[in-house]
């Protein structure tokens, strides 16, 4: 099973009763896997509107005595952190509360690169970092136990390579955990008037947990009693170290794999470092263990004669994703071994081969209505002489930054409309540009409402486009409160009604399939002073195809060779970048790719020659 499936299985074995989550790569599949079996296992699970609400709701369950789990991606924990740094003081009650935070080193599917472990330090809550699929499963019951015993939320940290890779896992028994009835809410669920005393209590808890971690069996040392070189690693990096030590063939080396990454079991670490000449830290993203253990070594007086190496000393790269190659290079560096040089003749052949490669850039799918909207934005920008700033947001439509730079900014969930709140006030300082903010439907509900209220209240001059495809497309089509089609027992919340209730100066509803009307709607809205909102009804073609939609009954898209200007124009393929069309260099004109084309007809309105048409049949 994958790391994420292992976390889900661990949740079943831990007897979890509640799962609250918001989708985000690489964490999504944990909740998906729990949802598949939730009903049969008597678990309540939901896609919450955002991670903060998810964590707050999970705390409610835990306070009432039900074990709860809250999987989220790194950026989700940023959203939930406001609550986390209150919850740590008041405690998580007697149910048990586990947050699984999945970091994405290198930002394969993220807008940033961050190390979420610092939240455990900031909140003084325990942090566990499993290193394998087996540990991913086994850690969840341990995390629940720690949380229940000490009434403290526990963070389990994963990274993309653990979450999204798979290996063999030996299963344990499912815990059919019973809970006390009637449910009773824990007491003292607030920190005023003496939050500092709650802080004191929290630090006492964390000291006790540090003592327990001294003998935690997940922490493993392998090697001779007094190694010359000691590696300290956590998470998937433990595997990289195993392999790198084998490749470099280091004599008299030991490795300490720390699963209890916070609080650090200082006694264990101090004893293990002992008289080692060199200590190398290998961990994902930031020097978390390296800083913690470095500081502890001074306070607790261990490792005085050892040289500590890692990201702070430049031996390990301090950004990007770790791997075996980087670990090998670090080991060679520490040991003063020359890097192995490859055969020069071979290298030049590889270089020659590399020259042939062309990049395969990310792009909108065939028929994706986001492409239409950005095309429309570009047309409006041309008409405004280029004076149009677009503040973007998180979702598939983030690809707008690559689409002829249609979008200028892209940060956190909801930041598009937030940033536009600022830009929309800058006319008084001489900003000679109209401002558009773009967000998707799921993003709108997640984080855009406060900024939209602010824009209305402060009379910001901006146009807000909501690209509403009725699904959380980027992460695999999860339903959200605004989705048209809801599961039974759930009530739809209308995005349009929320928008209208805020009473922007203009509200328009448009159809993103139709480019000409989208262009004129956007053009009209940006010309008007004040706050305009356009809800553009959009379609996710992937979701459409997944639900069995076939386009064969629609008329085919054909190109009239007489009308097409050929090489002179090429707007449809080179500028609009239609994926359903390909350039045929022999015919010197575009041809339809029948197996890709969704027959949406967007390209028809893009062709200035009216050479693209629907066939009669």
């Amino acid at each position: 099973m994958s790391g994420n499936e292992a976390f889900a299985r661990g949740a079943f074995e831990a007897g979890i009763r509640f799962c609250y989550s918001y989708p985000g790569t690489p964490s999504t599949e944990i909740t998906t896997a729990i949802m598949k079996e939730a009903e049969s296992r008597g678990i309540y699970s939901e896609w919450s509107v955002n991670e903060k609400v998810a964590l707050e709701a999970a705390a409610g369950a835990s306070w009432a005595g039900l074990p709860a789990i809250c999987p989220m991606k790194s950026l989700g924990l940023n959203v939930a952190s406001d609550f986390l740094l209150n919850l740590n003081l008041s405690g998580s009650g007697h149910g048990g509360l586990v947050i699984i935070a999945c970091d994405d080193p290198r930002g394969h599917s993220s807008s940033n690169e961050q190390d979420s472990r610092f939240y455990a330090k900031a909140a003084s809550v325990p942090l566990l970092e499993p290193s394998s699929y087996q540990e991913a499963k086994d850690i969840v019951p341990l995390a629940v136990e720690i949380s229940k015993t000490h009434e403290i939320p526990v963070i389990v940290r994963s990274t993309t390579r653990l979450s999204h890779s798979r290996g063999l896992v030996e299963l344990g028994e499912i815990n059919d955990r019973k809970w006390e009835k009637p449910l009773k809410l824990a007491g003292n669920l607030f920190n005023i008037p003496n939050p500092h005393l709650r802080h004191r209590d929290l630090l006492e808890k964390i000291d006790k947990i540090a003592e327990e971690f001294e003998s935690n069996p997940f922490n493993r040392f392998q090697g001779p009693e007094e190694p010359d070189l000691l590696t300290i690693s956590s998470g998937i990096c433990q595997k990289y170290v195993d392999e790198a030590l084998e490749i470099v063939n280091v004599q008299n080396s030991g490795r300490l794999g720390l699963v209890t990454a916070f609080p650090i079991p200082a006694g264990l670490v101090g004893r293990t470092i002992g008289e080692a000449r060199d200590v190398l830290f290998v961990e994902e993203t930031d020097p978390f263990l390296e800083i913690e253990i470095g500081a502890l070594s001074t306070v607790k007086n261990f490792g005085g004669d050892s040289r500590l190496h890692g990201k702070q000393t430049g031996v390990v790269p301090s950004y990007g994703e770790m791997n075996v190659d980087k670990t090998v290079a670090a080991l060679r560096n520490v040991l003063g071994i020359q890097p192995r040089t490859l055969d020069e003749d071979y290298e030049s052949k590889v270089e020659k081969a590399r020259q042939l490669l062309v990049p395969r850039a990310l792009t909108f799918c065939a028929g994706c209505t986001h492409r239409n909207v950005y095309w429309a934005i570009q047309k409006v920008r041309e008409r405004l002489g280029g004076n149009l700033i677009v503040a973007g947001d998180i979702g598939c439509y983030s690809l707008g930054v690559f689409y002829n730079e249609s979008m200028h900014t892209m940060h956190a969930m909801g930041s598009g409309i937030g940033v536009a709140n600022g830009l929309g006030q800058l006319e008084r300082f001489g900003l000679d540009s109209k401002v558009i903010a773009v967000a998707g439907d799921s993003t709108f509900l997640h984080a855009c409402v406060p900024a939209l209220v602010n824009a209305k209240h402060k009379k910001a001059d901006l146009t807000f486009l909501i690209l509403d495809n009725s699904t959380t497309a980027m992460t695999g089509f999860q339903k959200h409160p605004g989705s048209a089609d809801q599961d039974s027992g759930l009530e739809r919340v209308s995005i349009e009604r929320i928008v209208r209730a805020i009473e922007p100066d203009t509200v328009l509803v448009g159809d993103a399939v139709k480019i000409p009307s989208t262009v004129s709607q956007i053009e009209d809205a940006v010309q008007k002073p004040g706050l305009s909102v356009i809800i553009l009804e959009s379609i996710c073609r992937l979701e459409e195809q997944k639900s069995g939609w076939i386009y064969d009954d629609l008329p085919k898209i054909v190109i009239d060779p007489e009308a097409c200007l050929g090489e002179e124009c090429r707007i449809c393929v080179s500028e609009f970048n239609s994926m359903g069309l390909a350039w045929d260099s022999k015919l010197e004109r575009p041809v339809t790719l029948e197996h890709v084309c969704t027959r949406c007809g967007a390209c028809i309105s893009v062709c200035p020659q009216r050479a693209i048409r629907r066939s009669r049949k």
Partner: protein
């Protein structure tokens, strides 16, 4: 001495890359070996390249194959095969690839040219061990589906005899995992046959 047999499956989104990795991993389990599979997910799948790393050993390896460590590259698409070979291949890597190209957004639009497949084959031969270039088009047309390329390629891998996996077990797994069973088994058999013939002609 390497302690694992490392396979890279290289392709683009929608080619059944991930399922391919899973079938090969299950094949390793049948041999009492421990497979670890690393997939690429998320934004990388919106038209981008997809790589599956499969590491077969007696212990769990890390999910990523180190540079120049692949024993075999299974290429579902020529350009992505070369990209994988440049990064993960070495002098004796076995490369088995389909010559059916999948254009990039830029090559479709004619902004850049898709690299010449003969030149890419030459480059693969210059940096790898044995290279099997397959033309599945006729077989897939005959079977009547282009959606079974992954089964065809698993058949080719099985036929090469270059992995610790057992061909008849892989054939069984393709039938159990992929629907429709008959079409996928036909594709597997065609891939296996194609590689066997190439091996004869190459004398390997």
């Amino acid at each position: 001495m390497k302690s694992s047999f490392d396979i890279v499956v290289a392709g683009v989104g929608g080619q059944g890359n991930l399922v391919c990795g899973r079938i090969l991993a299950e094949g390793a389990v049948r041999r009492n070996l421990r497979p670890v599979v690393g997939d690429t997910f998320g934004a990388s799948r919106r038209g981008g390249a997809v790589l599956t790393h499969l590491r077969i050993g007696e212990f769990d390896m890390g999910p990523l194959i180190p540079r120049n460590q692949a024993d075999l590259i299974l290429g579902l698409e020529p350009l992505e095969t070369l990209r994988a070979a440049v990064k993960f291949g070495r002098q004796d890597t076995v490369v088995i690839f389909s010559e059916l190209k999948v254009d990039t957004a830029d090559t479709l639009g004619g902004k850049t040219e898709y690299p010449d497949i003969d030149k890419m084959t030459e480059a693969l031969e210059s940096i790898s061990g044995v290279v099997f270039r397959l033309d599945p088009k006729a077989s897939l047309d005959k079977i009547g589906s282009s959606r079974v390329l992954n089964s065809y390629m698993i058949g080719a891998l099985a036929g090469s005899g270059k992995t610790p996996l057992n061909p008849s077990e892989l054939r069984g797994l393709v039938g159990e995992t992929l629907k429709p069973k008959k079409t996928n088994i036909s594709a597997f058999d065609a891939g296996l046959k194609c590689v066997s013939e190439l091996m004869k002609s190459k004398g390997v």
